[in-house]
Every structure is written in C-alpha cells, then in structure tokens.
C-alpha cells in the first residue's frame, strides 16, 4: 500500500468533490423552493460554460467582464426556463415537472450543437498554473483552484441566503408554501428567483469544470454524478449536498485510481443504491410522513 499515493488521490477526489457540491447546491436550491427535480442540471452547467466560451474566446472580452456576463446570461436563461416550462406546471404532479426537465436537457444539448457544434473546445486559462504541493502530495493546479473557488462560492451563497431578504423568502417558501403566501411573500417570484440563482450557480461551476476538462456537448454527463450526489445527500438538504459531494468525489477518485476509469460511475452508482437501501431519503434528506 502506497500511502502517499492514496493521500494524493484522496486530495484530488475531495477537490473535485467541491465542484460536485457547488453544482449540487444549484440543484438543491431549485428543489427546495419549487420541488422540481432538475435532471437537466448538467446541461445547464454546459450552457453556462458555452456562454463563457462565447464571451471570452469568440468575442475576446476580458475575463473580469466575460465571467459576470456569462453568469448573468445564464441567470436570464434560468428565468426563461422557469417562465415557459416550469410555471405552467404548477400544481401538476412532480413527475410532470421532472419530465419537462428531461426535455429541457435534450433541447439544451441540441441548441449547443447547433450553435457551437459538437466538437471539444478549450476554455481560455485563467487560473494560476503553478503546481500545488500539500506535504508530499501533488495536486493539479486547476483542480485545486477550482475547488477553492467552489468553496468560496458555496460559503458566499450560504451566507447570502441566510441574511438577504430574498434568501429568507426562499427558505420560508421551502419550508411551507401556504404559510409563506399568507405572510405576503410573492411565491411565484421566489420560484423565479430560485431558478435564476440556480442557473447562475450552475454557470459558475460550468466555467470551472469546463476550464479543467474542456467543454463539449456531452458535458451534461457531469450532471449524472451531481444527481448521484444530491440523491445520496438527500434531495432537500444543503448539508447533504456538501457532504455527499465530497464523498462521491472521493469514491470516484479512488475507484478511478485503483480499479480503472470505467469503474468510476459503477462505484458511485453502487454507493447510491447501497445508501438508498439503508436510508431511502438520502443521508440528510427530510423523511416524508405519508398519511391518508
């Protein structure tokens, strides 16, 4: 057993877990507020990274302008999606909204291939390229800085939604829609807010993921791992998303290093099934009490 190697792999796993956690946060935000399982989260991430690609590489905007522009444009996309696809389904069974997002994923992939073609592209480098050494272990600089940015964003989002009025409204809507309505919270607007915020977060993580591994129209596969993360953590739990993000990142890295690349998804899905059998609502999810 090579302990240094294990340590190195684990670090990489935890760092990529940070990215999962950020994307999972985007997912949980929509789920908590609107009870929509957004299976197209990977595709929204991809849309964000392609917008960044357009602004930074094709229009050659400076980075400090391109990143906010991409994030804002994604927010707009989120608002459009909410208005045209999710709002009309208010009150329909949750399965309908879930399937709408299945369709949404397909539309986004198709649009990206139409506009930017299906080829693999590289995002402009903006992260420091000096290798990072933690003790004896070497960590790829992009992965390290990606994880740092993700961690900063997660912290910022948590703070903002704890103290800002909109965040309070969102949490109120999440815990009880009827009660939120009755104290004057504009619930449909909160729904929009949740989608906009989620699309923006997805764009941020899309930019990071894209600058680590390049962008292509099949980037949505990242969304599958994110889906595993949120299910393992519990759909409506922020803490669950963070813990499960790191856990799944770790499992993927270890399986990839010791068993081989093709075992990555297999290992995470086996973890998923095992955890669901033991805890049907994920590690930290709310247990729904059903009665007639």
């Amino acid at each position: 057993m090579d302990w240094a190697y294990l340590f190195e792999i684990s670090l990489t796993g935890i760092a990529s877990g940070g990215l999962y956690a950020l994307a999972a946060l985007a997912f949980v935000m929509v789920y908590k507020a609107t009870r929509v399982v957004n299976i197209a989260i990977g595709e929204m991430l991809m849309a964000g990274s392609y917008l960044f690609f357009t602004f930074a590489a094709m229009w050659a905007l400076p980075l400090w302008l391109a990143i906010p522009a991409a994030v804002l444009a994604s927010g707009l996309l989120g608002a459009i999606i909410e208005r045209t696809m999710i709002r009309p389904l208010l009150g329909e069974p949750p399965i309908s909204a879930f399937m709408v997002t299945v369709g949404l994923g397909s539309i986004l992939v198709g649009l990206v291939e139409m506009i930017w073609s299906a080829d693999q592209r590289r995002l402009p480098d903006f992260m420091p390229t000096k290798p990072i050494m933690i003790g004896e272990a070497f960590l790829a600089p992009k992965v390290f800085w990606g994880a740092v940015i993700a961690a900063v964003f997660i912290a910022a989002v948590l703070l903002v939604f704890r103290h800002w009025r909109g965040g309070v409204a969102l949490r109120a809507t999440a815990s009880d829609q009827g009660a939120a309505y009755s104290v004057g919270i504009n619930v449909p607007r909160v729904f929009s807010l949740a989608w906009v915020a989620s699309a923006m977060l997805a764009a941020v993580s899309g930019i990071i993921v894209g600058s680590i591994g390049g962008i292509s129209s099949s980037m949505g596969v990242f969304g599958l791992s994110v889906l595993v993360v949120v299910i393992v953590g519990g759909l409506d739990s922020v803490l669950g998303a963070l813990v499960a993000g790191v856990l799944v990142g770790l499992v993927e890295a270890l399986a990839g290093a010791y068993l081989g690349g093709e075992y990555k998804l297999l290992a995470t899905f086996i973890v998923l099934v095992a955890i669901l059998m033991a805890r049907p609502y994920g590690l930290f999810g709310t247990r729904e009490i059903e009665r007639l």
Binding site: V37, M85, P88, L89, E92, P94, I95, S96, F98, M99, V100, V102, G103, L104, G105, S106, I107, L108, V109, G110, L111, V112, E113, M114, A118, L224, L227, V228, I231, L235, E262, Y263, L265, L266, F269, I270, L272, V273, L276, M277, P280, Y281, G282, E290, R291, L292
Partner: protein, 345 residues
C-alpha cells in the same frame, strides 16, 4: 354512424372493444397490417419493424410508469438484457427462436424484479434515479463480461422459424408485428383483470391501495417484472432485427426515448403507448425527408442531429405543458366529436 353509447349488460361495458364501429375499424387496421408488406418498399418495411419493436417496449414501460406510477429510466437496459440473452443463446447454442425470445423476456423480467426491490422503500424520483443506476450497472456488465463479448459485442446468425431464414425485413415483419400485436392485446386485457386494477390503485395512491389489501411489494415487483418482460422480448426482436448487439446499443438516451414516447402518446393508455411510439419513431424520418426536399440540403444535414435533439425535447415539453394526456387524448376528443356530431361540437 353511431350516436352516444348505450350499454345493456356488464359484459358489453367491460368489453375490450366496445362498439360495432370499432370492430369494423380494427378489422380494417388488421387488413392493412396484413397487406402492408406486399406493397411497401424495403425502407418502409424496415421502419415498420422498428416501430413495432418500439411499440412493444413502450407498452411495457406504460404498464410500469403509466399504470403503476413508478417512473423508470431503465427500460433500455432491460431491452439490452433481453437482446444479450437472445444473442448468446442464438450464437452459442442455436436454440429455437421462440424459445430464445421467451428466455430473453424472462431474464429481463428477473432483472426488472431485482431493480424493483428498492421500490417499496424508495419512492417517486428517488426510484427513477435508482433505475438510472441499474442501467449503468447493466451497461458495465455488458461491456466487461466475457460472455457478452466485451465492447465489441456479439453478432449472430439470422433466426429461423420452421425452416424459414429470417434475413429480410419482409420476413422479419411476419415475426415482429404479430408478436407485438399479441403483447398489445395482452396488455390491454391486463387492465381488465384484478392485477391490472391493483396496479391502477397503486398509481392513484399507494397507501390507500395497501389499506385496501393490495400487497404493495408483490404488485410493484410484478409490475416491474411485466414491464421488463415486454422490454426483454422487444430487445430480443431487436437483436434478431439488427443481428449485432453491443453495449452502446442500449444507452440511457434510449430509455428517455421510451419515456418520451409514452408522455407524447399519453400515459396510462394502451393506445397512447402505441401512438407515442409510432410518432416518436417517425419524427426523425420526417425531418430527414424535409431536409432532403429543402434546397441546400447538403449544409442542412450537418444540423440534422442537433435539430432532432431540440425537436425531441420540445415535443416532451410541449406535450406536458399543452396536452398532458398526450396524443391519446386528442384521439379521444376526435372520437367524441364523431359520437356527438350533429348535436354538439
């Protein structure tokens, strides 16, 4: 011409096909199905077989998702189980075709029941994700086991029935379409029985169903099993049709295709599954025809596959937003219009 309905006995109320007009139309449809292979070109025969396979599989998914309310994104994986079983049996031992198809169905059924085990504890969308997990695990085994031929997959000889070698679309049509029709009749009849009604009760509210004395796990497993059986047989037919089975033959997007087919067609309706599968299979072909007719088609062909994806997604979204009950509901409206015609429209 017939106005309204007037039923005099329980038997006529519970009948599978309820009116004279319907019998006549069904007779015409059957005659068309019989005559079709003698007039159609090879391309249309190929399409007809593909449609029939998709109809069989989406009918299976409709039993599980439309009637029992358990969303599954693993239908393609169960088709894969059936296809691999058939391919292995045919290529290694050359067992008779109908036996292979049945075996494929039963293997897929077992697989489906294993995947269904979490369904008592895990509900709704959690379950949908478990079925995604199942399809990835199945894909992994297809790609890595020795008996499935790894990533290269398996290729097989054309099947034989009563000494006739099924190597053209014309001959395969006579295998695939009758089996699909049989399975459709089976599914339609299922919902006139105690089992089918239990499925519907579970869909409407599973706890009430349990209070009414329906053993939930048993019936949910049965629903998974039946649906996978349909998928397995469809997969077996698929294997005989294409004669090459690889791990990439049954991707997650295929499961999504079947889900889309029953959404577009109408969930919880046998006719809906059929209409949806026909419609969804034909959409890409119609697109291809349009692109061929339009000027400058060489440039447009590049756009064909992304346009297909966009239209595919837009169909799902559009139907859910504007016509949640799908094509079947449109059909019912048309039918009602003719029932009531001179009096109300």
């Amino acid at each position: 011409m017939r106005i309204g309905t007037f039923k005099e006995s329980y038997a006529s109320d519970a009948a599978l096909f309820d009116s004279r007009t319907q019998h006549v139309w069904l007779g015409i449809a059957a005659a068309l199905l019989l005559a079709f292979p003698f007039v159609a070109s090879d391309y249309w025969l190929y399409l007809a077989c593909l449609i029939a396979i998709n109809v069989a599989s989406s009918t299976g998914l409709n039993i599980l998702t439309g009637y029992t309310g358990l969303v599954s994104l693993g239908q393609a994986a169960f088709m894969g189980l059936g296809a691999y079983t058939v391919a292995i049996l045919q290529a290694r031992w050359g067992t008779p075709l109908l036996f292979n198809l049945l075996a494929g169905g039963f293997v897929a059924m077992l697989g489906g029941m294993v995947v269904g085990i979490p369904s008592l504890r895990v509900k709704g969308l959690y379950l949908a994700i478990v079925t995604i997990a199942a399809s990835f695990i199945a894909h992994f085994f297809f790609a890595n086991l020795k008996i499935t031929g790894g990533t290269a997959g398996l290729s097989m000889q054309p099947g034989q029935v009563l000494g006739v070698v099924l190597d053209t679309s014309f001959r395969l049509y006579w295998l695939i379409v009758p089996i699909t029709v049989l399975m459709l009749l089976g599914a339609a009849n299922l919902f006139r029985t105690r089992i089918g009604r239990a499925f519907i009760a579970i869909r409407d509210r599973d706890i009430s169903a349990e209070v009414l004395g329906i053993p939930l796990l048993q019936y949910k497993l049965l629903s998974f099993g039946l649906s996978s059986f349909y998928a397995g047989v469809a997969g077996g037919l698929w294997a005989y049709f294409f004669r090459v089975v690889t791990p990439e033959s049954f991707p997650l997007s295929m499961s999504i295709f079947f889900l889309a087919a029953i959404i577009v067609g109408g969930m919880g309706s046998i006719l809906g599954g059929v209409l949806g599968a026909v419609f969804m299979t034909l959409v890409p072909e119609v697109l291809k025809l349009i692109v061929d007719v339009l000027p400058g088609s060489a440039d447009l062909t590049v756009f064909l596959s992304p346009v297909r994806l966009v239209i595919f997604g837009a169909l799902i979204v559009g139907f859910l937003v504007f016509e949640p009950l799908g094509l079947a509901e449109m059909w019912r409206r048309t039918r009602r219009f003719f029932h009531l015609w001179p009096f109300r429209n």
